[in-house]
């Protein structure tokens, strides 16, 4: 990690040592769809262009690849360079990966929406292929042979006819003088050597030996530490405060009021933590003070009387329900949950005269810079932002409140400072997955076909909590999807697989219930709907029905669906973030309670980049999805969160995880994203297995509150 003041200068010097006279390539990252990424500079390692360039080939043969996107455990620092190295035919052992700072020349320098690889796939390939073209051209020129007769392999250019061979390092300088080609030929998938294999995390050595990688590890000589006491209840603000006792404590430098609280600044984390508790603050009401019990009533009211926004309408829904042989109706509700990445929020800021230096972990560094620029009225080009590794994100670090706070504190105390959130600050401080409630209704004809479908979603600061062009849209002639939102002072935000992290469970559980009501096998019931959508699609469909069918059939086959006597299984399939995942959960009863022992998963995320990383994403998402479905709950009393740390906010642990049988479908598509898509289906598969085991449908998360787990089973409807 950099700890110097002048990051760009130092980085340039460091890298110019590698690249003096070598090949330096930078790419303007255009649209995801554009296959015409343009090279915006090349050949010379100049100070003003060296930073943030995508790749360099040094005269020593070292290929340096800058990884622009924030790394939070999705393994992007390994996957991105793999794509470049593949097309470059680099020797992976000679590849160095460096986290790039925020740089306008990178497009979409953010982590969110499972979008990095799908977006950058063509651009990264082109970057590698362009460098390869130039290295081959340099070799061909030196040997006086046609470039077409040369090939590249593991860091060498070869002329097989004459047996000539030169390393990339020996060619780098000449390659830098080759005109950049307008177009290059990309490899055929069948020729991939690196892509699709399991490559270890490039940061393993540093992680496993405790190197300072994360924002919380960042240290600068003379830096101060700060913590902020924010209002404990949403809907309140600071009225006045008395910092006399806090200021008298050892190591405390200052106490200042900031927009959202009172900041204690001192010489060490512990001293600041203690002094924060000594603050005497009076709060006053600034908005509605709400409790979970209020939200339960609000949900019912909005479902019955709310003025809904129609999101999608197909056919004649009223008539379908009027004519139905059978109507199935159910409501599902989830609570707020906290992201709780294990590294709490933190950021370093040094506001100087007319410029700002920012260092830390965030998912959208560009927005963080914009927000700081607005707060301090300092132009964006006077603000630098260096990214550290993120100790998890899950969506929390898409929001830059903690970055802005750090800049605010630094500007007030006129010193470099790191603002740190305690776990309690993090858990009680907002930006939660919104609480949502759904009402589903299905109309069945006499043969058990679903002829009508209604979904009304209501949520607390949830925006549109439906995904109206996902399944079952397209498969039902008469359909109505609408939503209503309640505005609350409780702050909410995107949580891994936003909306679908709960919607998928609710919908897949409901479809299961409809299948049972129709007297059909739950898997076959869905396959029939998919076939219907394929043969006669109704309106817009954001999903590819063939890919839905494929993962469904494959997971049924691998899990032995319906063929294993005495085995209790639940099925779920979901499309999100461009990818498709089907799951079968297996339950057993132990001491009268259901236990999920195994989950079969089949995923179609298009081309796999790093098989090792891909397996991590799916298995981790299943653990995450099951953990939050079983345990995740953040409730409110008089505006304040009732849970504050891991003693009363339960996260899944090792003894509670199922075995996972994982298979990837090779669908031939380009990569379609994998950071999130395996999470949404898990809750549904688990709930459907528990239904089969106990005969009880689970209509609320967390499942632990249900009677089947010995909970109160209190229903709010």
């Amino acid at each position: 990690m950099q700890t110097t003041n002048d990051t760009s200068r130092r980085d340039f010097l460091k890298w110019s040592a590698f690249t003096a006279g070598g090949l330096v390539l930078g790419f303007k990252w255009a649209d995801a769809e554009a296959s015409t990424a343009t090279v915006f500079s090349s050949t010379v390692a100049e100070a003003e262009v060296a930073m943030g360039h995508y790749l360099t080939v040094g005269t020593n043969g070292i290929v340096t690849i800058f990884s622009p996107n924030p790394e939070l455990g999705q393994n992007i620092m390994t996957s991105f360079p793999m794509i470049v190295a593949e097309e470059l035919d680099a020797d992976w052992k000679q590849v160095k990966v460096v986290q790039a700072p925020l740089d306008n020349r990178f497009d979409r320098q953010l982590t969110g929406g499972s979008g990095a690889v799908p977006h950058s796939w063509p651009l990264l390939r082109k970057a590698g292929a362009t460098a390869r073209f130039m290295l081959i051209a340099a070799a061909a020129q030196r040997w006086g042979v046609p470039a077409a007769e040369c090939t590249a392999e593991e860091g060498f250019v070869l002329h097989k006819a004459s047996g000539k061979k030169l390393g990339y390092g020996e060619l780098a300088e000449d390659a830098g003088k080759v005109p950049v080609p307008a177009t290059v030929t990309l490899k055929d998938r069948k020729d991939f050597k690196l892509i699709g294999t399991a490559v270890k995390n490039v940061a393993n050595k540093d992680i496993l030996t405790g190197k300072p990688l994360y924002g919380l590890d960042f240290y600068r000589e003379g830096m101060l530490y700060a913590m902020i006491q924010r209002p404990p209840a949403f809907g309140t603000k600071v009225q006045s405060f008395d910092a006399t006792a806090a200021k008298a404590m050892p190591g405390i430098i200052d106490v200042v009021q900031v927009k959202n609280g009172v900041a204690v600044v001192g010489k060490s984390t512990w001293q600041v933590m203690k002094a924060k508790k000594a603050l005497k603050i009076t709060y006053e009401k600034s908005g509605n003070i709400e409790s979970t019990a209020d939200h339960d009533k609000i949900f019912i009211d909005l479902l019955n009387n709310g003025k809904a926004t129609v999101r999608r309408k197909d056919g004649d829904v009223e008539a379908a329900f009027k004519d139905a042989a059978k109507v199935v109706k159910a409501e599902y509700q989830c609570p707020f949950i906290s992201h709780s990445p294990l590294e709490p929020m933190n950021f370093f800021a040094h506001v100087k005269e007319g410029s700002v230096e920012l260092v830390g972990p965030c998912q959208i560094p560009g927005s963080a810079r914009t927000a700081v620029s607005k707060l301090l009225n300092i132009p964006e080009d006077k603000i630098t932002l260096e990214l550290t590794r993120l100790g998890g994100g899950f969506g929390r670090r898409l929001y830059n409140d903690y970055v802005v706070e750090a800049a605010e504190v630094s500007s007030l105390i006129k010193a470099p400072v790191k603002v740190i959130w305690s776990r309690e600050d993090d858990m009680t401080g907002g930006t939660y997955r919104p609480a949502v409630r759904y009402r589903f209704e299905a109309a069945l004809d006499a043969s058990g076909n679903m002829t009508g479908y209604r979904l009304r979603g209501v949520g607390i600061n949830s925006g549109n909590p439906t995904r109206e062009h996902n399944f079952p849209s397209g498969a039902v002639e008469n359909l109505l999807i609408e939503s209503v939102e309640h505005q609350s002072p409780i702050t909410t935000g995107a949580w891994r697989a936003p909306i679908t992290n709960f919607l998928a469970y609710a919908e897949q559980s409901f479809i299961d219930e409809v299948a049972v009501a129709a007297g059909k096998d739950p898997v076959q019931f869905r396959l029939d709907l998919f076939e219907k959508a394929k043969a006669k699609p109704v309106g817009r469909m954001d999903y590819n029905v063939n890919r839905m069918i494929e993962v469904t059939k494959k997971v049924a086959e691998r899990s032995g669906w319906g063929t294993k006597a005495g085995v209790i299984q639940g099925f779920s399939v979901y499309f999100s973030h461009r990818s498709y995942v089907a799951q079968v959960a297996e339950a057993v009863m132990e001491k009268g309670k259901p236990v999920i022992k195994k989950v079969y998963a089949v995923a179609d995320c298009g081309q796999i980049v790093n098989l090792g990383g891909a397996r991590q994403q799916v298995m981790g998402a299943i653990v995450d999805g099951m953990g939050h479905a079983l345990f995740g709950k953040l409730s409110f009393k008089d505006g304040a969160a009732e849970q504050s740390n891991f003693h009363n906010y339960r996260l899944i642990r090792m003894k509670e995880i199922p075995q996972v049988d994982l298979h990837f479908v090779d669908s031939g598509f380009d990569p379609t994203g994998l950071g999130e898509p395996a999470l949404p289906p898990t809750g549904g598969a688990v709930a459907n297995a528990i239904f089969k085991a106990t005969g009880k449908r689970l209509y609320q998360q967390p499942f632990m509150d249900s009677e089947v787990f010995g909970g109160s089973g209190k229903k709010t409807f």
Partner: protein
């Protein structure tokens, strides 16, 4: 504030801190050994696990005044990052975000000293106190097993 002497990773150290300062913050803020992580501050997540006298201890609730035995942190678990647990963690390619892994490895290393040939159930029980928010438990479990088979 008072002067406290302690041995960390074989080295004598002296710090001037409040007596109630948890060892975690002494390591991180005073000694700049930041491999030991802060996750919860109440011994719930295990990210701050270190060894005191060879035993796995949660440093976030251990006041400096109670430190009587030598301390080992992730930085001192091995000289070259090649403790069997570190090797196994790399071979199995465990880390996702990686933040909890120092604590996971310190727990595993202490566990394997007392239980060199653990069963799957023993591994799960021993590691149950360490939270991995990325859900990398399958690989953590496998890596403990791999580490137990080394040497």
């Amino acid at each position: 504030m008072a002067i406290f002497k302690l041995t960390v990773n074989g080295k004598q150290q002296q710090v001037d801190v409040d007596a109630d300062t948890p060892l975690l913050w002494v390591l991180r803020d005073s000694l700049h050994l930041v491999g030991t992580k802060y996750g919860c501050g109440m011994a719930q997540c295990g990210a701050c696990t270190i060894h005191m006298g060879g035993n796995a201890v949660r440093s976030c609730i251990l006041p400096i005044s109670a430190v009587r035995q030598p301390i080992t942190t992730i930085e001192g678990l091995s000289a070259n990052g090649d403790h069997p647990v570190q090797q196994a963690w790399d071979e199995v390619d465990v880390p996702q975000c990686g933040y909890c892994q120092a604590g996971q490895m310190m727990t595993a290393a202490a566990f394997l000293k007392t239980t060199p040939h653990p069963t799957d159930e023993q591994i799960a029980s021993a590691m149950h106190g360490n939270i991995c928010r990325c859900g990398a438990y399958h690989r953590i479990h496998e890596a403990v097993k791999v580490a137990s088979q080394k040497k």
